[in-house]
Amino acid sequence: MSTTVIGGAPPKPRPPPTPISHLPTDSARLYTHIHPLLLLSLYTYQFPSIVADPVAGLAATLVPLAALQIAYVAVCLPPTGNGTGSGAGNGPASGGAGGEKRKIGEKKKANGSAGKSDGIGGRIIPAVLSVLLSLLVAAPLLTAALVLFGAPITTHHAHTLLCGAHIAFLAAIPLVYVHGVDGAAWRDAVALLLPVDEVYGGLLGAVCGAWLGAVPIPLDWDREWQKWPVTIVTGAYIGYVFGRLLGGTMLKGKKVMF
């Protein structure tokens, strides 16, 4: 996550990035609260098998995790592109809520009266694409970061890679979905310049949770669950849920200060 596109900063001044809100539909409003519960339930359900055999357990959990994240972004989040999705998009609108509303209006116009199902169908493709991007770009980067932070270099490759993939799926899928491949937005994301929202808060939470997850590893408690990388993944899940919650509510619109 520390090395993303540096160049490509457009010379023209951009409007300041605004926090992202979930879609103003009833299903989005509802599912955005159900989603973290589903995630935690999935993880809790899988936890014994992850502890027993981290590689098999994490690999088996990866697919339902991706499915949950796809469902979440498709139902709740504005997709990138069409000059709509990204809060840092090119539209002249600067007011967050107002802009969002207008964009949704545009979308409805564009889609005509095709109805919700079609809209969701149209969002599945970018959602799947963001899964692919997360898997191919974010996961290897996170794995490299894990190794740099002290994960074993010569052994446990599958463990580390799966751990990286889990964090990537949690943290990166929603972000890729809303920001696409907008270089400027991503530079802001890396520089911690984006305003905190549900999506960005989830990323910060997952990363901080994973960081804290390393704390119990050295303790001499002789517990099964202390094995690599169970605590890191657990920390990421918990951190993600907390970060999402705080980012969507209390800390919404705040910025990280150095």
Binding site: S2, L148, R187, V190, W211, P218, F258
Partner: protein, 1036 residues
């Protein structure tokens, strides 16, 4: 790296240079001086005086801090690290400590050395953690508690003691804390008390070098067989019959049966009549009870099963025992309610001792004593008492350092009235104790007053002895027995006072001193506004005056407070005085003080890393894995630095910051591949520092590392200089030639060292040894001789270049046709000072093993990367730089093959440029090796605030003082934390292995870093800034 166009305005300077150019004068210093107005020169001279005075005061202030650190550490250590001198004396069979009574003269172990022996052979069974109350029946006279799983499970000991009092006895067996098996085995074989450091013993190994029972048996050509816990082999390597001995790993606490079944399997064949001639003493060490305790706790069916199993084993042994063999069953310690041990609670120290023989050899002095004591509080014997008892029973001399006394039941005879024998053995033992005490007092210089009471008892006992011999009455011998036994008791309690008692007031006062010094340092370096140099004089004068007054008052107080040691009172008074003085100074400048509370992410990180590390030292796991934690923190810093670099406005800053942050992370991770694992990290750690985990020589491929370093490091450093065109003047000569040559020589040294060690070229003989020493001396001469001279007399690394007018910004045009460029202007201070880092780098690199040279080279590279990170993120005022240097130094401490254990000290570095130990050089070399990484990072601290600063910037010295103060604050916090935890956990199971060594490393590192910060870093700052000031003038 190739950025660094100097931006600051320097009109005055460039004008001066323009003038100088006109006058064809290239010596810029001359030019500046010759063209300066008189007034300017006057101001400059005043500035110089002011600078030098301010510098001296800063040095004095930090020296005052150093003194406070020394006092605090000394006071704590003197209360905490109680030491006992290990005497090398061995008792000899032929020379009893006192002339024998009844003309018993043997001098041979066959009939018994000092006293006729009772048994030829012995089987000693150690049931680890056999607590006394496991062995006696429950309920003991009508107690209304319900029986636990551990009750009544091993009744055989009690039954035999009651039913056959002449063949067996059972007694409470009290351990001296710490109740860990290793310490207990030392006590059970040497008869001495455990202390923190057995001074004089071999630090590197665990083998017992003191006189002990096993060594005495070995000396007398007795064949000793050991079966069970392999701790014995660490303590007594090579003492046991190799073909009969069966060691088992004691590490796996979860395994209750492997060791026990192994012991049982191998011990009974030995007891078979056909095999009894093959050995003299068998030591069997069962671990199952201990492991059951650790795993399940005592009140668990597994414990019941285990004890029943032991009961069966002992019954079987009684069956198989022959007539002239003594059977001993004992516990080395007990266990607490959770089944753990190590501390000093009653449950942990109360073990059981049972002796059995088929001969009617034992007795009781009273018929009341036939029943073993109902609780461990009645008639207990000390574990050290086993040493003289077994020695005399087997006809061995009593080990020289023994402090125990013979057990009454074993010598009083079957009828229970042989007080003459009891008096004789007690007299022998007391005489040996007396001989030991005499030698100890000679070697250590114990005050006569502390021995007064015991000497009086000694004289009294002798008088009783003479009296009894003239009258030969049993009643008199009883009083002789009690007289000698009183002497032994008194001596033991004196020794316990000397060796085994923590002096808590001293420890507390030491911690208070360290804490208050920390507060002063924190306010000084992070809680004051403005230039540090303006505040230092007031602080120094008040603090210094306070200290002096404190000493005077304290001197008076020593007469009033006679219950405390003089130096204790004096130190406390001096510190209280100093603190009062400094507080008054802080009060006077209170308007410039603020709470040193972090406000930025960098401040939070600095505080967070330091505090997390400090809190972690309370847990043995975090202490063990400190190297990995440091890696984690350093990488975290690198990532945050990379993120922060993305936030920079200037594209150059952004790119450069990102590049160096990522480089910093990768270098950290590369360095982390060099590991020397401590025992506790096994099996999750693989040592790479040496050729293999069991070796302390480098692999052949590792010899290439220093050569690679010699080729690359000068190039990399040059890169950092060229970024600001500072690769000029002396830097070329030093970096390109001398440093490279010195590094090559140090690489050659290690190759020659390996050749010498491995005897690759036997025909070279002594030549190789001589030449490697010469090479080492030349390398030191290059570094500390030539290098330091270069650093002291070098001009600032500047060059003036004439060229046709171009559009570059840092030129002073002359009629628009030609221009002058001042090369190296952008980093005058940093590049000049950093020479000092490379000088010390060379000296430290020589004393590191090849793998360490690689790690240190990475450290060097990281340090320069850090300068760039700090500069591009504009953090020179932040605490993060000095704190990261502290983390980096601590990290590379591990990466240069060290651990916080005494065993990891690389003593052999004392011989790198020497043939024999020579003071003070040998200890200095070991320090340079041990704390090399911390020293390098400490020397680098001033460069954090000098790197790429404008030449005429004001208050640089104050910035350096602030940075150095922050750096010391890091080490002082770590030291305070490790000190507090070591004091708090002074009865912890892992005190000796983990907390105490970490405390010692923390204290030593603080003092070493103090010294280098003051006398190398701050002193070097003066040279560096003065040199730049000759060109640019002293900032007013």
């Amino acid at each position: 790296m190739d950025h660094g166009e100097p931006q600051p305005s320097f009109k005055g300077i460039s004008a001066a240079y323009a003038k100088a150019k006109v006058e064809k004068e290239k010596q810029e210093a001359q030019a500046l001086k010759s063209t300066s107005a008189d007034a300017g020169e006057e101001a400059n001279r005043a500035g110089e005086v002011h600078f030098k005075a301010a510098h001296g005061i800063v040095i004095a202030f930090f020296t005052w801090i150093l003194i406070l650190h020394i006092l605090g550490i000394y006071l704590f250590t003197s209360g905490f690290l109680l030491t006992r001198l290990v005497l090398d004396h061995k008792s000899e069979c032929a020379s009893p400590p006192i002339d024998s009574p009844l003309s018993y003269i043997s001098g041979s172990s066959e009939p018994g050395c000092w006293h006729p022996k009772t048994f030829d052979k012995a089987i000693v069974i150690l049931v680890d953690a056999l607590r006394y109350d496991f062995t006696i029946p429950f309920p003991a006279d009508g107690a209304d508690e319900t029986a636990h799983q551990f009750h009544n499970a091993i009744p055989v000991l009690y039954e035999t003691a009651v039913n056959q009092p002449n063949n067996a006895f059972l007694l409470p067996f009290i351990a001296d804390p710490p109740t860990t098996t290793l310490q207990r085995l030392k006590g059970l074989t040497t008869g001495t008390l455990p202390t923190f450091i057995d001074a004089g013993s071999n630090f590197a190994g665990t083998a017992i070098e003191e006189d002990n029972l096993v060594a005495q048996l070995k000396n007398a050509s007795k064949r000793i067989v050991h079966i069970g816990d392999d701790t014995w082999h660490a303590l007594f390597p090579g003492y046991f019959e190799p073909n009969l001995t069966r060691p088992y790993d004691s590490f796996n606490v979860w395994d209750l049966h492997t060791v026990d079944n192994g012991v049982t399997e191998h011990v009974f064949p030995l007891m078979h009549p056909s095999n009894t001639s093959k050995w003299d003493v068998v030591i069997g060490h069962y671990l199952g009870v201990d492991h059951a305790g650790h795993r399940y706790g005592p009140d668990h069916p597994a414990m019941n099963a285990k004890l029943s199993q032991m009961d069966g084993v002992i019954r079987q042994m009684i069956e198989a025992l022959d007539d002239n063999t003594l059977l001993v069953v004992m516990g080395d310690h007990g266990m607490d309610a959770k089944g753990d041990h190590g501390g000093e609670s009653d449950d942990e120290i109360q073990a059981a001792l049972w002796m059995y023989t088929k001969q009617p050899a034992f007795g009781r002095s009273s018929s009341d004593y036939i029943h073993p004591p109902a609780t461990a509080k009645e008639r207990p014997v000390a574990q050290i008492d086993l040493v003289p008892t077994l020695s005399l029973l087997l006809g061995m001399p009593i080990p020289f350092n023994n402090l125990g006394k013979p057990i009454e039941e074993a010598f009083i005879g079957a009828s229970g009235d042989d007080y003459q024998n009891l008096a004789i053995v007690n007299r022998l033992t007391a005489a040996q104790i007396h001989r030991y005490q005499h030698e100890y007092a000679l070697a250590r210089g114990i005050e006569e007053s502390t021995r007064m009471s015991s000497l009086a008892l000694w004289t009294a006992a002798h008088a009783a002895w003479d009296m009894a011999n003239t009258t030969a009455h049993q009643g008199h011998f009883q009083s002789v027995y009690s007289a000698f036994s009183a002497y032994q008791q008194e001596t033991l309690s004196i020794c316990r006072g000397l060796w085994a008692r923590f002096d808590v007031p001293r420890m507390l006062n030491g911690v208070m001193i360290l804490l208050s010094t920390l507060v002063v340092l924190a306010i000084y370096s992070r809680g004051t506004a403005g230039d540090q140099t303006e505040l230092t004089p007031a602080l120094l004068i008040h603090g210094g005056m306070g200290t002096i007054i404190g000493v005077l008052v304290g001197f008076g107080a020593t007469f009033a407070l006679t219950s405390f040691a003089k130096e204790h009172v004096l130190i406390c008074a001096a510190v209280v005085g100093g603190m009062t003085g400094v507080s008054s100074a802080f009060w006077r400048i209170r308007s410039r003080l603020f709470l040193p509370f972090p406000t930025t992410i960098w401040g939070w990180m600095s505080v967070g890393f330091t505090l997390l590390l400090s809190i972690g030292f309370a847990a043995n796991s975090f202490t063990i894995w400190e190297d990995e934690i440091l890696l984690y923190f350093l990488c975290t810093f690198g990532v945050v630095a990379a993120l922060s670099s993305f936030r920079q406005k200037a594209i150059a800053d952004r790119a450069l910051g990102c590049y160096h942050s990522i480089l910093f992370i990768i270098l950290t991770r590369m360095a982390s591949l060099s590991r020397l694992c401590r025992e506790e990290q096994m099996p999750y750690c693989k040592s790479t520092y040496y050729a293999s985990a069991n070796s302390s020589t480098s692999a052949t491929w590792q010899l290439a590392i220093p050569y690679v370093v010699a080729l690359l490091i000068p190039v990399f450093i040059r890169g950092y200089y060229e970024g600001t065109r500072s690769y000029q003047g002396s830097a070329i000569m030093w970096l390109n030639l001398a440093l490279r040559f010195g590094l090559l020589l140090s690489a050659a040294f290690w190759t020659m060292d390996a050749a010498d060690d491995g005897d690759w070229y036997p025909w070279l003989g002594e030549t190789l040894k001589t030449s490697k020493i010469v090479v080492a001396i030349i390398t030191f001469a290059i570094s500390l001789g030539f290098g330091y001279s270069t650093f002291i007399w070098s001009k600032p690394l500047l060059e003036i270049e004439n060229r046709a007018a171009t559009s570059t910004s840092n030129v002073a045009t002359n009629n628009g046709r030609t221009s002058i460029t001042i090369l190296g202007y952008a980093n005058v201070h940093g590049s000049r000072y950093a020479l000092l880092i490379t000088v010390w780098y060379l000296a430290i690199a020589l004393v590191q093993k090849p793998m360490g040279a690689g790690a240190l080279a990475l450290a060097m590279w990281q340090i320069f990367s850090l300068f760039e990170i700090i500069d591009t993120n504009k953090l020179s005022d932040s605490p993060i730089g000095p704190v990261i240097l502290g983390l980096l130094g601590s990290f590379h401490f591990f990466k240069t093959g060290h651990q916080a254990t005494l065993a990891s000290i690389q003593w052999e570095t004392a011989f790198i440029p020497l043939r024999t130990i020579r003071y003070p050089w040998s200890p200095l070399l070991v320090i340079l090796n041990h704390f090399g990484a911390q020293i390098l990072c400490a020397v680098a601290v001033p460069a954090l605030v000098l790197w790429k600063q404008p030449p005429k910037k004001k208050g640089l010295l104050g910035d350096v003082a602030k940075a150095v103060g922050t750096h010391l604050l890091f080490y002082a916090t770590i030291n305070l934390a490790t000190t507090m935890w070591a004091g708090h956990l002074r009865r912890h199971l892992m005190l000796y292995r983990i907390f105490s060594p970490r405390f010692m490393v923390g204290g030593a590192a603080l003092l070493v870093v103090d010294l280098f910060c003051i006398f190398v870093a701050i002193a070097g700052t003066r040279i560096s800034i003065s040199s730049s000031a000759e060109v640019f003038g002293f900032p007013g």
